[in-house]
Amino acid sequence: MWGFADVGADAFVGLGLVLAAAQGAAPLAFAFAGIIYIMIGLAYTELASSFPVAGGGQYFAQRGLGDFWGFVTGSALVLDYTIDIALFAAASAGYANFLLPYFGVAPDSFVVVLGPVKFNWLWLSETLAIISFLVWLNIRGIRESSRVNEWVGALVILTECALIVMGFLFAWDPELVGAQFRDQAPSLNQFMYGSSLAIISFVGLESISQAAQETRRPATIVPRTSLALIFSVFLFATGFSLLANGVVPWQDIAAHVDNPLAVLARAIPLIGEAAGPITAILGALILLISANSGVMSVSRLTFGMSQFGQLPQWFQKVHPAYRTPVRTILLFSGIAVVQTVLAFLTSNALGTLANMYAFGASLGYLLVFAALIRLRFAEPVVPRPYLVPFNIEVPWKGHRVKFPVLAIFGMAGVALILGMVVWTHEIGRIAGPAWVIVSLVSYIIYRAMKRMPLFRSVRHDWQGEQMRVLEEAEEYDLLEQYKTALASESRWRARTARSK
């Protein structure tokens, strides 16, 4: 449900940003990014169910491509998680502000101008307060949030379903969609910018991978959850964008990037009066949960990277009383605070954060695809409860390896998105690579100081770890399958050695 809470949240943020960029062609931008996202999702489903270990993309890349690329992926994901905290906290505050007019307060009255900079100080303060609250919550190790997550996640999904069904039934006008598409089509640059931003509407996969280790029977549950997640997110994202363009002019949504879904909900007949504020409340809650998942995930990820010798052991230190990783929580939430403040100094705070997010996500996804292909060859005997479809069997060292053709298309698609990000995102193309380069320099210094290989990997007992993980997860069927396959492989090796 943790990942599913993230799913519900994505549509709340992405809709306004993508509509503002791709305008009348926003549904097309969502569909384009959505198809690539489906391929990414299928890759994550295979990897998370085969290697149910916390760490997500970073772990897959490390296991498949080695320590160096694992670190590159990890640094991209750390960037995304810190932005996740800032972006979703800001969006949560944005939805809360939707309710201000109901109390006779105009949100625009809090806008201040300081020289060339113009920002809403109330919104900024709320965002910083939310991040501080999450830091406190996570340092204290508040545990009862899981059940709340589930309820809010379920409520959000129900609300979103109701909005889409009611909206298409009573408010949607296909002629308006056609007119906006025909008369207000974006330029190619705007469309590319919108499509690359649309990728932020498709997060949640990493959260599922992170949660896989704590899931009992992950090989059974992860593929189902993950596949349901992929297709429901796709339906939500394309559904909302199509609905929005058929209910209101895109400018109405683009003018409210801080709470676009609440604006859309308010425009639906019969339920609009109530749906607007309800959507805003649920949006604020689910986005708060998503921001919290950013705090938790970045702590887990850096803890794992530190255990694998990619980051100093300093990151593993836990609070003596609360037993929580206080250092990582403070450090990365602090970075999120800096990102928030800097983003609010630009003309479009959410757009700036989404800009950077898209860079980290596309870089991480690219390396995850490479890891998927490499792992098929490097560890062919690992049981895979789910396989990315469309494979070609290739003989490889005594095995019949299934080469994932779809991964090649996925890689090309993600590379295209990354290219679009670099081409069209003014901030993302500088800040994103700069983050990765600075992280890499620190990695090289750390490894050199520890006399560890810089570009090669240290030895890892992946087989032992795989067996331990499967046993802990009570995936006995997979465990036995793995043991049998390993025994077969060792017999094959013995035969080959004898014949030589």
Partner: protein, 191 residues
């Protein structure tokens, strides 16, 4: 929407709404319906059979081994096992082991292997055919087992043996059972 305004339902919109609702119901229903967990002993039993990738089937002229070949093929079908079909010729001690085979012996071997190979191919598996000379049947089977390291040996035994033949067969089977480096499955053919 102003009060009193008429609600208009666009048929295309209604269709999309229906498609969305049904898709979400199917997705969530499928996600929440989970298969039952498998206990470790059950998993071990299932997977140990799944690990059988090489099956050796010894064949002999005049002994109905075709059913043993079919049985082996079915056991190996799910995991795409390789089936080693070994025709074993017992050479009496009065003849040299490497003496040329008589035409009749060669023909019998060819016929038996052709028939067995066809059974394997009908099961869409790979058949590897061999002709092995040996002083004793058990010795030949064990030598092949040592050489090809199968995961399973399937031996078909006819139900009606003469007393002498039955006694010999028992000795052969007992030796194989005791000394084979892998699992042995003996199938007594229905009479």
């Amino acid at each position: 929407m102003s009060p009193g305004a008429e609600l208009v339902v666009n048929p295309f919109g209604a269709l999309i709404a229906l498609f969305f609702a049904v898709s979400m119901l199917v997705l969530l229903g499928w996600m929440l319906w989970l298969p039952r967990p498998v206990a470790q002993p059950v998993a071990r039993a299932r997977r140990s059979v799944g690990g059988v990738r090489r099956i050796l089937v010894p064949l002999e002229w005049g002994v109905t081994s075709d059913r043993a070949v079919e049985l082996a093929s079915r056991l190996g079908r799910e995991q795409h096992a390789d089936i080693y079909l070994a025709y074993i010729i017992e050479i009496p001690r009065t003849r040299a082991l490497n003496a040329p085979l008589q035409e009749k012996e060669s023909e019998q071997a060819r016929q038996t292997l052709r028939c067995a190979e066809q059974i394997v191919k009908l099961n869409r598996l790979r058949a590897i055919t061999l002709v092995e000379r040996s002083r004793e049947l058990s010795e030949g089977i064990l030598r092949l087992a040592g050489e090809f390291q199968p995961d399973l040996i399937v031996i078909g035994v006819p139900s009606l043996y003469s007393t002498v033949r039955g006694l010999m067969g028992m000795i052969t089977l007992e030796t194989i059972m005791r000394r084979a480096p892998c699992e042995v499955l003996v199938s007594k053919m229905p009479g």
